[in-house]
Symmetry: C2
Subunit: 239 residues, 2 copies
DNA sequence: CGCTCATTTGATCTATTTCAAGTTGTGTGG
DNA sequence: CCACACAACTTGAAATAGATCAAATGAGCG
């Protein structure tokens, strides 16, 4: 099993053997977390940095009305905020979507590694900038894209992110997101998500079925979404 | 004229004289930028960090359709991303909304100050976390709040942020945002913004007129917005 | 004064939500 | 292998928030 955290960071900055060794040492002991378990909750005092090694999770907020907004999807290799420990309380929660292998890294250890290994620090900072860019893309989606564009855009994003850590098939991806969850992420109703998915299927762009995304016509999907991968900052990649 | 960048950072971490002296040295030479001028554009190679010392600006993206999404409002004391220089290109643009005094800080100088003055580094990191929290709040607004809640929520946010740098009046704030701009920020039409503003006015919660926000009934505004200031992480503040 | 730009109002239209039933799929125990 | 329970998905009809189109009003400015 390759270490997808390393894989992801390697995409942002070249890492030498010692960089990798340092990262492997910090991520050696993941623990298994079951589905729908809150890793941390809004209002909690943040602790160590954690990294999803396997499985999926999401950041979310619950509103007074009880509705929920998903703020980000975390896939293998993704981490929570680097400096999260500086805050008095979390302003959102993080929950697993599938069973997941999660590693927690002590702030001190992380700081030491970053001080000793500039390439690791660089990659971590870039990862954070990409997370921010992703949030901006989400704001843009919510504010100015139609529902079908929004769905298509999210699928493009997830597919590319997954490709960068090599967990995709030819034109497919294991995507364990229910329609309710997608609705909570995209500011829609699950009912409407369902109709939009059908529309995308009929259009021959993509199919989402039983936890699996099939991108039948990538060009069409990108066109529908108006997708521009700039915000993922993948430029230096070779793949 | 107090230095509002220092004022803002002081809210996140106590700063001693030398911390402040270092910050003052880096922000001594602002330049005047006129209204509606792009400080940096999507696709540009990022340069030095810059800080708005006076006036307002916004981050935004333009979609293929020509519509625009405002991603954040920058008020005096606000800075662009700390590590922005690590990226190959900007994924969004930043434009002034009013004439503004803007300072650019060389990456090297900033890094040196942060290395020498841990309190400054701490405050800068917290500022970045607050920016992220703010983006999450915007995503939540766009996804799950009605238009009136969205407008009210944004006004609450701006008022509190402005209060932290002491540029507010009793229950008022100089807010140079046109209805078109607000529409671009909140994913609405300017026509609809107009109606919502009227509704808030009639409800006796707030009035936005000629660049001035009057919060006639703060409690009511907060109630309408369902506002919780947690994401601004102001807990340590005394004010 | 006459121009321009921002705001306001009205009338119509449409995307999306809401509510309410079904249908399909999946795992479990008999 | 079947029956049952439970979750996820699908579809239709009615209601509504917000967009769009069009036009009027008002303020600031050379």
């Amino acid at each position: 099993m390759t270490n997808l955290f390393v894989e992801k960071l390697r995409g942002y900055s070249p890492l030498d053997e010692e960089d990798v060794a340092g990262l492997l040492a910090l991520t050696a002991r993941p623990r298994l977390v079951k589905t729908r378990h809150d890793l941390i909750r809004e209002g909690d005092r943040p602790g160590p940095v954690f990294v999803i090694m396997e499985g999926w999770a999401c950041r979310y907020k619950v509103l007074p009305s009880g509705t929920r907004q998903v703020l980000a999807f975390l896939m293998p290799g993704d981490a929570c905020d680097l400096h999260i420990g500086l805050l008095a309380e979390m302003d959102h929660s993080i929950q697993t979507i599938t069973p997941a292998q999660v590693v927690t890294i002590d702030r001190v250890d992380m700081d030491r590694l970053m001080a000793q290994r500039p390439a690791v620090a660089r990659a971590m900072y870039i990862a954070q900038l990409v997370d921010e860019g992703t949030m901006r893309a989400w704001i843009t989606s919510m504010g100015r894209r139609t529902s079908i564009e929004r769905v298509a855009h999210l699928m493009c994003e997830l597919y590319l992110r997954a490709r960068d850590i090599a967990i995709t098939g030819e034109q497919s991806l294991a995507l364990p997101l229910s329609q309710v969850l997608l609705a909570d992420a995209l500011g829609m109703t699950s009912v409407h998500i369902n109709r939009v998915l059908k529309e995308l299927r009929v259009a021959g762009a993509m199919t989402l079925n039983r936890g699996s995304l099939e991108v039948s016509d990538p060009a069409k999907l990108v066109r529908i979404a108006g997708f521009d991968d700039g915000y993922l900052h993948r430029r230096s990649r070779t793949a």
